[in-house]
Assembly symmetry: C3
Homo-oligomer: 309 residues x 3
């Protein structure tokens, strides 16, 4: 997979997100820029998130990606944009789906979720406001770390709107926190606090003020950008999300991955730094990964036949 | 699947359970009626539970099903009826199994569990007493919500009786709360309080007195009966329990389900009520579901060749 | 599987572990004996652990296996032995792997993990010191119960060393505690206390002093050795770790296992003791298990073509 040149994200014309690099260009901060619309999900927002995660995935400078919102916005994200006029939910259908029938519909939340989950860098969702629907599914569940404001109101309200979980949340939430908590959250459709016991394993940390969340995310990001290896991170994420069915097969896979990572520059640097009791200086890029580290899984193609994405 | 006419559950001759409708016939309350036998599992009880969950699944009036016991009974359920005479556990074998050999045995707890898990309505177990064996496996794990009395003594005592987990608990418990807690509970076979950290994600709420549990379950049931859509609930349960192996396949499935639900009456009503800031009035029934919402999974047939169930 | 005669573990020449029987020879206590090397993982240690778990699995006297360390050692286990000289991680490759290429490498942590997970007896890890890398993966995750010292420092430091999770931890940890906590622990590579909320379901109990952990493990072991059935334990472990993909298939499997266990001596003894309100006296051995209880799963062969193990 080819890498991108040193892009200037500020000049790329994003409208519904603001993208900045920080920490010597090792950290990308994406800020939702639809405060006037309660940071709701829109088709353009979806397009921009998918695009930027694809670019950041291949930008060798970037090690950590933070997604956040303006802490003074009415919400971190209030879910899908309210359907316009009398169209109901069908205003969310893509024109492609209209032509090709029900099988062609692609849930936009799921498109975002998969783009984030496929990104091989460390991803952090800094949830500094209320989050409903896609604001907790697409914009939280596919991330590696979730940090949150203690006062956030959280809801998976689907069954109270006549629909079912979207954005791959019916896949991710059970794997993240188990079926008991997931069914409780999904089937009640109620509003929960981050301190609710069903959500206990979901958040890395919980913060008293909205303005504390991004600084805490940045502190975590600085540490991880400095001290972790890009190929090691990418392989760890893949081992967890794309693992094998049996322990024996996973053992063979881990062995192959270990062999691939340990023979590389970062693997050697990791040992040397540890022995010399000094900070690591990891330099390997994702494009440098050895053959053993190529994807071992196959991905069902979710694109439309004529899709741009 | 055809729906049942407006049944009068009180006149159907159930002996070991009492079945009443509440909340304008939208809520069914099933009460275990074997207090004199410590509410143990019996073959007749199994038959009646399977029958009533099948009927309630197809009774279009009913949106929520609560299972509970008399709060003054010695226990919510003390597990399997003690085998009679010298037969040991083999008194639990069905005659069919005797003729057809070991492969024909059907664990009665599992028969109950599957009947409850297949029910497409919201199910709540209101555990207002001690629960052992099938009292925590079949009568709690397949439900969507579990509410419990703080003083309940809970045990999976199988390994201390020379047997192994039943009622599909070796399938459900790991998915509900993870393998670490499940193995701890199963392999110790010990008695636990609902407050034990292994059980933390299992219960929706914990109540100080036995008499508090059913009222709390009813309060939850009234809310959900009024404010959730039947097809949305049925599809949410199926997405979690009958999901696909990969995130891409689940995305395609969620997209199809969204399309099916959003184009229906409840989907439109959900959007309209939200925009008009009023209560929803969901009217779609399970029999009305569009083609996209038909079961996408196959179920291994667990019946005996000549079974009645 | 044939059983072993009454072995004298003290005379078998183990160097890096000490093996003693306790509780009328029903409990085996394995103590890591590399305090001078901070109890790090070495190839000889791996060989000895694999050997002793294989022997104990087939030693009919033994019902519970405790793994622990000297509570005055610098650590319970500090992970892999630091690679020697300039070899980096490649010093951990086996010579077989050198000849046969990357596909032939077998992660030594994974070899240990699988040996422990395959052991059909109750296994307890008594973690009375700090645990890093293999000290928390191979030496904790495959066990049935984990008891720990409150002050233990725990880390999965792989991404900070340029490598990825090993010892099948990328398979076991998500199944034990879920993907949210697992990704947080793996991708931060940080040091955690046993009280951290991500680790909440992992430990059976947490103890204030290092010297409390083994006595607590022994107390649990005495109870379980006296009161649980060997075939019931073996089948329970297999139902959880080697379960089927659907609830219907698991129901058929549980039914077959119930039939096999209930017709045996321990199954009958379990019922009789319960009815007579006396302690059980289980005597069935793993070699006695009926045909229904033979392994129903297949295991990918992880050995080298010419391996000794």
């Amino acid at each position: 997979m080819s890498t991108t040149p040193n892009l200037d994200y500020g000049s790329m014309g994003f409208k519904e997100i603001i993208v900045k690099l920080d920490g010597d260009n090792t950290i990308a901060i994406i800020t939702l820029n639809r405060a006037n619309e309660r940071n709701t999900f829109s088709p353009l927002l979806v397009e921009e998130i998918v695009e930027v995660f694809g670019l950041l995935d291949r930008d060798d400078r970037v090690r950590v990606i933070i997604f956040t919102a303006d802490p003074s916005a009415p919400a971190f994200c209030s879910g899908a944009m309210l359907p316009q006029g009398d169209l109901g939910w069908s205003s969310l259908y893509q024109s492609e789906a209209e032509r090709e029938g029900p099988q062609a519909h692609r849930d936009l939340g799921g498109v975002v979720t998969i783009a984030i989950l496929r990104c091989r860098k460390i991803t952090i969702s800094a949830v500094n406001g209320h989050a409903v629907g896609a604001g907790i599914t697409a914009l939280q569940l596919p991330f590696d770390f979730r940090l949150i404001w203690e006062g956030a109101k959280l809801a998976f309200p689907f069954v109270r709107r006549g629909i079912a979980p979207e954005a791959c949340s019916s896949y991710l939430l059970p794997k993240l926190i188990g079926n008991s908590a997931s069914l409780g959250l999904f089937l009640s459709g109620d509003t929960y606090s981050p301190r609710h016991h069903f959500l206990q394993p979901l958040y890395y940390s919980i913060h008293p003020n909205r303005s504390n969340v991004l600084p805490a995310a940045l502190q975590l990001a600085y540490d991880l950008a400095e001290n972790t290896s890009q190929p090691a991170i990418a392989m760890t994420k893949a081992l967890v999300w794309r693992g094998k069915d049996t322990i024996e097969e996973q053992h063979l896979l881990e062995s192959l991955v270990f062999r691939g990572l340990s023979g590389a520059g970062d693997g050697n640097e990791g040992v040397r730094a540890f022995k010399e009791r000094r900070k690591v200086g990891f330099e390997d890029k994702l494009g440098d990964m050895k053959g053993e580290l190529r994807p071992w899984w196959t991905e069902v193609d979710i694109r439309h036949r004529k899709a741009k994405l």
